[in-house]
Symmetry: C2
Subunit: 421 residues, 2 copies
């Protein structure tokens, strides 16, 4: 019995429309290997659940509930923004993790997150060597930002990209109808503080059959007001209107976030967030066009109702692959999505060492951004298009998606409480 170890699974960082599909892949695959893996214990609120010994017994959930994770957005076990310090800086945390792992017979550590989480996972993977506790740590990739290295793309991104492409197409149709007497410019703010992958997806709204005037503002390109206004004016003069997809992370030439440069509240405090109203206001000042703006915020990453089928499949596959890697005795790795071809799109599961993943951010390559800085290149389009392909609607009842809420029953704790720093 001692040989059959339990697994720990946790979700980290901002959640996505498909991170639960990865959880589903982990749990369903582990359940298929009950000879080798005991229970899957989930951390309530990510790694914090491990530190505070707040574990969820996923074996109490029905097969049906676990299957429903595949189509339920958000983090079913709770997520967190909490980065482990280095072993030297906070040895107590690592010793605590080992205590909890030992107390609950945990031999596998699956951590589902982005770049910061890969760093946490890497640190845990070193516990075997550094503190002599045998653990296999596998990172399950997830991030709407699509900024993890090595993997061709990240689960979570394809669905946001689809949401942004669909929404930009729909809103552009709307503005086109109104522009003769009303709104001429529509500004949509999307996520992506450092990398412009999500903003780039706005450009997919237009294609050979449906020609829409769309300008993208990437965080990779310093905002030049004059050039931008000239581009907006040109679109409005040609089409009668223009849609702008702006990344929240766009900065002015001095490196300051545009979102921080403008708005102040009634008390004079500068109002964070909201680059869309700033850009829209500038357009009105400079060009006098009537505008509307939207900020998609959480709606974009939670929109499971319009998830990409490709993304759902990949998210599941990453969870499944992580368990298989664990069963093969691997440690300190992350499954990756390897692209085999663009058209037809084919992909397989690869593997990356965690030390090459942790704390590395992948930005939009220059060859993906059009020369004027406001669009994407055909190469970028070839990359993005397959990622939004296919629909995978959740079941609806009474007009609403039937997402699952798990029981999330706690594992009785065995240790003294632990104070988070």
């Amino acid at each position: 019995m001692a040989k059959k170890k339990n697994a720990f699974y946790a979700q980290s960082g901002g959640v996505t429309a498909v991170i639960n599909a990865s959880a589903c892949g982990v749990i369903e695959t582990a359940r298929k290997h009950k000879d080798k893996i005991g229970k899957v214990l989930a951390g309530r609120n990510g790694i914090i659940g491990a530190l505070t010994e707040d574990l969820i017994d996923t074996s109490k959930e029905s097969a049906r509930a676990i299957a429903a994770l595949r189509y339920t957005p958000s983090g079913a076990f709770g997520s967190c923004r909490y980065k482990l310090k280095g072993l030297e800086e906070n040895r107590a945390e690592y010793e605590r993790l080992i205590q909890v792992f030992e107390a609950h017979n945990i031999g596998y550590f699956f951590y589902n997150g982005g770049g910061d989480s890969a760093d946490t996972c890497l640190k845990v993977s070193q516990l075997s060597k550094k503190l002599g506790y045998p653990i296999q740590a596998i990172h399950v990739p997830k991030t709407v930002d699509n900024d993890l290295p090595i993997t061709d793309n990240c689960p979570g991104f394809g669905s946001v990209a689809k949401y942004i492409a669909v929404s930009t197409r729909e809103a552009s149709f709307d503005v086109a109808s109104m522009c003769a007497t009303s709104t001429k410019v529509f500004v949509l703010e999307v996520m992506g503080r450092h990398a412009g992958w999500i903003a780039a997806a706005g450009a997919l709204a237009t294609d050979e059959k449906i020609d829409l005037p769309i300008l993208i503002l990437f965080p990779e390109i310093p905002f030049d007001r004059k050039t931008f206004m000239a581009a907006v004016r040109a679109k409005v003069e040609q089409y009668g209107y223009c849609s702008v997809v702006v990344s929240e992370g766009v900065r002015d030439p001095d490196g300051k976030f545009l979102a921080e440069t403008g708005l102040k509240d009634a008390f004079g405090h500068s109002q964070l967030g909201g680059v869309a109203p700033v850009v829209a206001g500038m357009i009105q000042q400079d060009l006098g066009y009537k505008y509307h703006w939207a900020v998609a915020d959480y709606l974009q990453r939670a929109a499971r109702h319009i998830a990409s089928k490709t993304d759902v499949e990949q998210a599941y596959a990453m969870g499944e692959a992580a368990v298989k890697m664990a069963l093969q005795g691997k440690n300190s790795v992350m499954p990756t999505i390897d692209r085999k071809s663009d058209k037809p799109y084919r992909w397989g599961v690869g593997e990356a060492p965690l030390r090459r993943v942790a704390n590395v951010e992948k930005f939009m390559p220059k060859s993906f951004i059009s020369r004027d800085g406001f669009g994407i290149t055909p190469k970028c389009r070839r990359y993005l298009e397959p990622l939004i392909k296919g629909e995978d609607y959740p079941p609806f009842k009474q007009g609403l998606p039937q997402y699952v809420v798990l029981k999330n029953l706690p594992v009785p704790s065995k240790l003294e409480p632990f104070e988070l720093r």
Copy 2:
């Protein structure tokens, strides 16, 4: 030949996810009665197309293109915000309309819009009597605001309501995952300057099976900061987080829009629009909770991808009924949606005289808003639930909805140009 009159059809005011379904209903029904109705000529950009003799020949569109209107959001012929003055104030406009109608043998006038448009339609319906030109004017109801009288609900509303209910559910799941260490309050701004129907739909996100902490801010209820903050705090203390759905039209006790009370841009101009950041900022000031906010804006009314099937069917039925009323010789009327029962939901097509529709706004009745002012009553829920029922997905290709762009070929003009006032 002189006896067979052409029909004029135009779209007015803010467009919706299903106004083209009404256009589809008008055109397909007219095409079935070619013995009585000639061509359907659409006004390019609403009534302006009639005034400027900018007419679109819809007979040049294929049956397939017209059928595709049923699943294409926005206004396929262009819409406008333009209200005809009274006959006494601008007789020239009415005389021009008659010129255009005569020149193009138009005997039926179908106007697809909200309360203001009903007023325009009413004025046109009086041309027969007042200026001796025989015309039958039928109003086709449309408004996301759901504020037309007599009809049980308005085409366009059900789909926005569904979008808001689904998005609120999805975003609430997201916040629930993050609230232990990050965002505790999510604020979603929705449309509805005077009536809280759209905001009310946010409350549908929670039901018997899925319990979510949601507070609604209605334009019908003056914003009381202290009471609201107490309600937010109570939700966060009970659930760990809270979602707020705020109508753009919420006002403070002095009647001033909240959206106008706060933000100023870098130049000190007050920034219009954006009540969500104002409310979110207040929550942080008063309670210190980390927040996120979203402004759905055009996304909500353009989101055909998540349209309500009920809404699509009703929008089509209104267009169809308008043509049938015209064929029955009616004038100055609007087809209505008459509710027969809540559960099971049954409805039929009724009829309202335009003079009882024009310029009348229907607000949320007091019996629909919960006593604390932040939610809906069971009665309101019974009213709203059927309206978001059913999905009616558009066809997708390469991951994107295949909306139609019509040819919109102009009818050769026969008159001198006309200057809009």
